[in-house]
């Protein structure tokens, strides 16, 4: 038997269940009205649903209910397989996620080939990637970044949860090649002296 929930938790629970989109705390507060400690209610809900077949999760600052990952084998829908992504699209998505904000030229520098027209379109159409302003640099190139929908789709609470992010950062693999080489040169010069 679940613990009898308080009114605040009930309201937040109903709002999250009913919503067609993930909701931020502010949006939840908008629905359940003033005087509800939404953060506190979400904590209690998470505890209540621990170990159940469904539960509330936070993705990119927004909350929604979803099924437990270990039940995937029951629920996977054979007929509608998710959109096939080309290798180019997967790599481009990874580059944007790990380097954001990143310009098209920077993506191409890492991949060693030009991005074909449709690749970014596919990622933007899926709602995973968005234009993220222009860089204040010659040519003012447009940059790209990932979205809250991206985090939700891949089950990431925030970008910090990107797999291996810290390791890649520590290894310098997320810095431009030239930046690394400059560091190396400076170091080797220091050693030479």
């Amino acid at each position: 038997m679940m613990r009898e929930p308080d009114e605040d938790a009930r309201a937040v629970e109903a709002a999250l269940f009913a919503s067609e989109e993930p909701l931020s705390r502010a949006e939840i507060a908008d629905v359940v009205g003033e005087g509800v400690d939404v953060a506190d209610a979400l904590d209690r809900l998470q505890a209540d649903y621990a170990g159940r077949g469904v539960g509330p999760v936070e993705r990119g600052g927004k909350w929604h209910f979803q099924t437990a990952p270990d039940l995937a084998h029951l629920l996977r829908r054979e007929r509608e397989s998710p959109r096939k992504l080309s290798r180019a699209a997967v790599e481009t998505l990874a580059i944007i996620a790990y380097h954001e904000p990143v310009s098209r030229a920077e993506i191409e520098a890492i991949r060693g080939v030009q991005i074909s027209k449709g690749t970014l379109d596919v990622l933007m159409e899926a709602g995973w990637v968005r234009p993220a302003g222009r860089r204040e640099a010659p040519g003012r190139p447009l940059t790209y970044a990932t979205t809250a929908v991206f985090l939700a789709h891949f089950g990431l609470e925030s970008r910090r949860d990107l797999p291996g992010l810290d390791d890649l950062k520590a290894a310098g693999l997320l810095d431009p090649v030239d930046a690394i080489l400059e560091t190396l040169e400076v170091e080797s010069e220091d050693q030479d002296v």
């Binding site: 919503s19 699209a89 997967v90 060693g112 291996g164």
Partner: protein, 254 residues
Amino acid sequence: MSDALDDFEMIPEVPSPETLTLELDGWEGPLDLLLSLARTQKVDLREISILALVEQYLVFIADARALKLEIAADYLVMAAWLAYLKSCLLLPREETEDPSAELLALRLQLRLQRLNAMREAGARLMARDRIGRDVFARGAPEGLRIVRKALWDAELFDLIAAYGALRARAEPAMHIVRLRPVMTLDEALTRVERMLGERLDWTALEAFLPETPDPAYRRSALASSFVAMLELARTGRIEIEQEGAFAPLMVRAA
């Protein structure tokens, strides 16, 4: 990981040299091909022998040419560059050389590492519990609706003013002719006659007009004075002369 592979078309399996010669179309550019060749060395990318890799690439391109496969230009450019790199690496190092062959090799190695890192990151992303494949949102949410209800803003005055304006529009319009300041013909005749008594020489018509800031009154005075002069000329009391069209109209007593 196998799930991830279902989901996008392919990460090429580490290819054997034979398959390489047949699948030039499968590579996304020279860097992609180089990375796949590097993987055949079966060592950490940080440990690979660039010299061996260059050799692998050059052999691959040579094989492809022998088979008369069409090779895109960028593969050949890379081949030329790698041949240059190879010769630099083999020659004794010159201190003045800039950039050094070692630096070029390191740059290539870093680029391969970076591409490889992103390729693996992409695969790990695809392997996560994804919405709609591994985890599911509520199938039939009721939906939240915020119904914006307009609170119409109208005052009684707006209402009656609108009605008044409507009725006014519908009433037959009453036209009032505005009283305008004018100089009558009689006034002009009297005035011109009086002034002609004072002037004997040719005088421009404008000199007969009264000083006024009102342009409408001035126009009226001009028209009336002109007609008055025509009348005086007709009765032979004055002479009128004009040198040409739009030239000043000159008047004197006859």
